[in-house]
């Protein structure tokens, strides 16, 4: 019994992506429906947290890849001298 056998199938990636995208679409619709009791004004913008979460992760990855990695990356035996 291995519930992850699904990922061996050839179109598993496609199905996963469809599930993810439809889930996010539902979330975006729900966002418009559910009333907010926001602490800050900008929290009331539709999908504020979606946009923030997406942008935050893209910025995180880009900074880590293009700024931090070139700066700190060394060979694995760097300290063994």
């Amino acid at each position: 019994m291995n519930p992850y056998k699904f990922f061996e199938k050839p179109n598993s990636l496609k199905i996963t992506l469809i599930v993810l995208f439809s889930f996010l679409a539902i979330v975006t619709v729900l966002d418009l429906v559910i009333k907010r009791s926001a602490e800050y004004g900008f929290e009331k913008f539709p999908s504020f947290f979606s946009v923030y979460g997406f942008v935050a992760c893209v910025v995180l990855v880009l900074v880590a890849k293009f700024v931090l990695r070139p700066f700190v990356k060394r060979k694995e035996d760097y300290y063994d001298d």
Binding site: Y40, L60, R69, V72, K75
Partner: protein, 592 residues
């Protein structure tokens, strides 16, 4: 007052002592019985109990059980039992002794009511945990454990200095609210801060944790930083500097985690990120934020242990722990993967898991206090932690590219420990009031408000979208066999620089200047006098002795010829002598 319970640290101390002499199956059951007893004992601990003794002129309070110490004591006992179940298969008795000692020390710290007891257990913890690192059995374990010990001894010196100064100023060693007011409290804060992985002092954690054994890292992750969080919450709630420190800790490690190859190091960075939330909560200092900090520490100990356990299982079964060497393990380790996903969901704060109901209290507290920037950074850190611990850990270890590894599923006792931890993560998430009811302050916070659930689902859902799109487009930083420098570069290089300075400057200075001056000032005059007296000795004293000896020798040499040893020679000489004597007498008498 009669005592109806055992001091929790004493159970573990006794346990550790006997573990020294036990081996085999007996030891394996012993290490489970000890924390099990401690856990039962933890449930009957009377809140509000204080045990004080007067000793060498000090008012010692080795046991102080209040609401704050109780929560930490309880979770430490729970995680000790899980650690023991997880490590059941380990045959190394040294690990079990060190783990029990660490647990004793952590409980000692949590229940200590005075700085003297606190310091004693603080140092015991530093020793036992560095020993746990040292016996990790990896290539760099021993060196990392020395660096770890060096850091913690330094922290201990700061703490001791602060305690002595505090005692000198106030005459009290009671461990209570302190606040950042003077030098003494600053020193104590730094002492706690080294253990609480304050930024720039954090490198011991990411350096040492990946070097411990698969079970050792789980023990380390539960006790060191969290007992420091406890001490900060006790002594420095509402210290505003901690807000700044906390948000830095919450934000910077996630950048390192994204590009890190060693999976347990990724988890180490995310540990700093999570402790950052707790430190921020302490800094804010409201009832809500302190409740959030304590709840988050409780939840964190469980899910971080769960994540380290799952990566430990992967490490034990495959012998590999780097993202570049792993992948595709979902085929043979589905249970480990399932528990890993529960841990990953919990650390990310997915609704219905423990992280959701604890972390959100701290985030909400920052909003209530109007700390907008703090709130933004904490949200960023929440999205970030989902990104690297929530997705990266399960994805790179169990899916990603197929590494071709087909390890067996982890042994039953490891799955059991992970299963219990996973169950508790979900139980707290589904029924948060079980945890809320034991927090230091009454809880009015409602975690499952619809808009709040939506916030978190949106934040995490679209973080996942970002990950997916970056992966598919190939922008996501590829896994690489490399190490990433961190601030310990400064420590290591400055020490190397010092050694270089020592060789190139101090040694040369000593050699060229000090030695030369010594030669001129002392050695040369002494040599001059020595030579003078040697001359006197050679030419005067020896000359006299030798001269007289030579004279005697030459006289003896010429006299020696008289002594031929032949009787006839002596006879002739005798006759000649008689004749000469006769002639002389005749001559003197003037004729015969």
């Amino acid at each position: 007052m009669t005592i109806s319970f055992m001091p929790p640290f004493l159970i573990f101390l006794i346990g550790a002592f006997f573990a020294l002499f036990l081996r085999g199956k007996v030891l394996k059951w012993w290490i489970i019985i000890v924390p099990a007893l401690a856990l039962v004992n933890a449930f009957i601990l009377p809140k509000g109990f204080v045990y004080d003794i007067h000793f060498i002129g000090l008012d010692l309070v080795p046991i102080r059980i209040d609401q704050l110490s109780y929560v930490f004591g309880l979770i430490f006992c729970i995680i000790s039992l899980l650690n023991s179940i997880y490590a059941y298969g380990l045959d190394d008795y040294r690990h079990h002794v060190a783990a029990l000692l660490t647990e004793a020390a952590a409980l000692g710290v949590v229940f200590a009511g005075d700085y003297f007891s606190l310091f004693f257990f603080w140092e015991l913890k530093a020793l036992s945990t560095s020993f746990l690192v040292a016996i990790g059995g990896r290539e760099g374990s021993l060196k990392a454990s020395f660096r770890y010990l060096l850091m913690h001894v330094t922290g201990g010196v700061f703490l001791l200095g602060g305690i002595l100064l505090h005692f000198h100023q106030t005459g009290s060693i009671a461990f209570n609210y302190l606040g950042l007011t003077n030098l003494a409290s600053l020193l104590i804060l730094i002492g706690f801060g080294i253990n609480a992985v304050f930024p720039l002092l954090h490198t011991w954690l990411t350096d040492a944790y990946p070097q411990a054994s698969y079970a050792g890292t789980v023990v380390l992750s539960a006790f060191t930083t969290k007992s420091a969080v406890y001490t900060l919450a006790r002594a420095f709630p509402g210290t505003e500097a901690l807000i700044v420190v906390g948000v830095i800790m919450a934000a910077f490690p996630i950048f390192f985690a994204v590009i890190e190859n060693d999976m347990r190091k990724v988890l180490s960075y995310s540990l700093i990120n999570q402790v950052g939330f707790m430190v921020t909560g302490i800094g804010i200092g409201t009832e809500l934020s302190l409740n959030g900090t304590v709840a988050h520490a409780f939840a964190h100990i469980l899910y971080k242990a769960l994540l380290f356990m799952s990566m430990g299982a992967v490490f034990k079964q495959t012998g590999k722990i780097k993202a570049t060497e792993l992948g595709g393990l979902f085929r043979t380790m589905p249970w480990t993967l399932t528990f890993c996903i529960v841990g990953a969901a919990s650390i990310s704060g997915v609704p219905l898991t423990s992280g959701f109901i604890s972390k959100s209290m701290i985030v909400a507290a920052s909003a209530h206090q109007g700390l907008t920037i703090v709130w933004f950074i904490l949200l960023f850190a929440s999205a970030g932690v989902f990104h690297h611990s929530g997705i990266k850990i399960p994805f790179f270890a169990f899916f990603s590219h197929d590494s071709g590894l087909r390890p067996k599923e982890a042994p039953f006792h490891m799955l059991l420990a992970m299963g219990i931890a996973a169950f508790l993560c979900i139980a707290i998430g589904v029924y948060p009031w079980a945890l809320y009811s034991i927090l230091p302050f009454p809880v009015h916070y409602v975690p499952y408000a619809p808009d709040h659930v939506m916030e978190m689902v949106e934040l995490l859902g679209f973080s996942a979208l970002a990950f997916t799109l970056l992966m598919l487009s190939g922008i996501y930083p590829p896994e690489m066999r490399a190490i990433n420098l961190d601030f310990d570069w400064v420590y290591r290089r400055s020490l190397q620089l010092f050694m270089c300075f020592d060789r190139k400057v101090i040694v040369v200075f000593e050699d060229k200047i000090v030695n030369t001056a010594y030669e001129w000032l002392f050695l040369n005059p002494i040599m001059f006098f020595a030579r003078f007296f040697k001359g006197v000795d050679t030419y005067v004293v020896d000359g006299t002795v030798n001269g007289s000896a030579k004279a005697t020798y030459s006289v003896s040499k010429s006299l020696r010829k008289l002594q031929t040893g032949n009787l006839q020679d002596y006879m002739i000489l005798f006759v000649i002598g008689i004749l000469i004597l006769a002639c002389v007498i005749i001559l003197l008498r003037g004729g015969i």
